[in-house]
Symmetry: C2
Subunit: 271 residues, 2 copies
């Protein structure tokens, strides 16, 4: 079994003070993918930066306090890669120091932690999101081809900042012009699943569910009303997706203590 968890921690320093450390100590996961770490490694306590029993890779953003992705694995990675430039994809280098992508090879499987830009309609942040999407899809296609040639599977975990279908957010009607549920963003995710032939693992195992949501805004009573969005995914190659036996969102992990506005998304893959 390989258990992979992904969670946007919304500031690892704050999350660590509120319950992340206890959550990590209690998880059965073999790999934990973090997004929005929002800290340089040197700003983290040793307990969080390099916890006993884990190998860690931290990919902070050049901009202080922004973005930042990390990967924690029980096994030592065979290879580590920060960013997705250097593979012939135009525009990919722009994001190499943006704290949005880190990838490791474990035996037979490549695991990535992704934090796709969050965007805001009518602003430069939306343009950045679109540039990221334009570069990331060809990267995913190349990654899959290289992995296949190497006999490897791939799973790209993280906060994709796009809800794919109406079932993926509670208030889909009101959000059709909101970044995160724009037609062009949804169409791009469809291309990831259809053209690039990756699989949305949680949806595959829960085809009929509303959600399960993985993010609830801190504004208003979104969490209490379960007015959530499913924007955190495990996007896997079909071979690995076919081995997924269980998937869930740990809404309880953020209940009560609520150490992030996102909840951990976990998938158990059979060997």
């Amino acid at each position: 079994m390989l258990t992979v968890t992904s969670v946007n921690v919304n500031g690892l320093r704050a999350a660590a003070k509120k319950g992340f450390v206890a959550w990590l100590a209690g998880t059965d996961a073999d790999v934990v993918c973090l997004q929005e770490v929002r800290a340089e490694p040197g700003q983290l306590t040793a307990e969080v930066r390099d916890p006993e029993g884990w190998h860690t890779v931290h990919a902070p953003a050049a901009a202080k306090g922004r973005a930042g992705v990390s990967l924690y694995s029980r096994q030592a990675p065979e290879r580590t890669q920060i960013g997705f430039g250097g593979f012939g994809v135009p525009g990919a280098e722009e994001f190499d120091a943006s704290g949005r992508y880190v990838e490791i090879d474990l035996p037979g499987v490549t695991v990535a932690s992704l934090y796709l830009p969050s965007g805001e309609v009518g602003t430069e942040r939306q343009d950045e999101k679109e540039r990221f999407m334009a570069a990331f899809l060809p990267y995913l296609q190349g990654l899959k081809a290289r992995a296949a040639a190497d006999g490897r599977e791939v799973v790209v975990c993280g906060d994709w900042n796009i809800a794919h279908q109406e079932a993926d957010l509670k208030n889909w009607k009101a959000n059709q012009k909101s970044s995160g549920f724009l037609p062009e963003e949804r169409a791009w995710l469809t291309r990831v699943f259809d053209e690039a032939a990756y699989v949305d693992v949680v949806r595959q195992l829960h085809p009929d569910a509303a959600g399960p949501y993985s993010w609830w805004s801190y504004r208003g009573r979104a969490f209490d009303n379960d007015a959530g969005w499913r924007i955190d995914y495990q996007v896997a190659t079909p071979g690995l997706a076919g081995r997924a036996v269980k998937a869930w969102v740990e809404r309880a992990a953020t209940h009560g203590e609520r150490w992030s506005d996102h909840a951990p998304v976990t998938v158990v893959y059979e060997r």
Copy 2:
């Protein structure tokens, strides 16, 4: 009796959440002078902005979140003045919208709340402090003359941001080059007391005490070690100072809850 209290609240919104409201409800003072309110009236709750039983005057700074002085009085003021420009003192107008001075007339006595700039050696902030001092001494002289002609007494309460003598701060030796205990600042205060002939009321009643200190840095263990400064004063005309019968610093008011880094300085004046 007229009881006057002065306290730098270091952000009235934060102080209100931590114990200021309870403290105000429990005080016997007739007049309360606040400094570093750091909020526009509209940002305060009604309970703090206009508490039952008080008349309030708020003089926020033009710059958001900076400085700001207020006066609370049980009796309605006969006159209110924000800033000290308009009395022929060169340079005084610079500070009219800086949230550093407000004055009211009550029957027979003028009470002011002052927040003198805090300064930092070698920076423009120290220059600003010096410009304020240069303008404020002549204003004090004119105020006294006008009050005398009118048969009024005066007390200027607040955070003067200068410790006068060695007894006024615990670590005076280490702070001889620190803003707040510079020779030129101490000499300026001496001119307030000697040339302008105002009286340092708390020192008059406690001539031999170390302190009583009214401010302890939040850094390190300054409060626990009582490594404080006496920089909050009630500076009164001699007639009023002669009526002062009791003066104390409410160190306990900020102990435990600690709703400010300053403590209230209270004086009881006989009628």
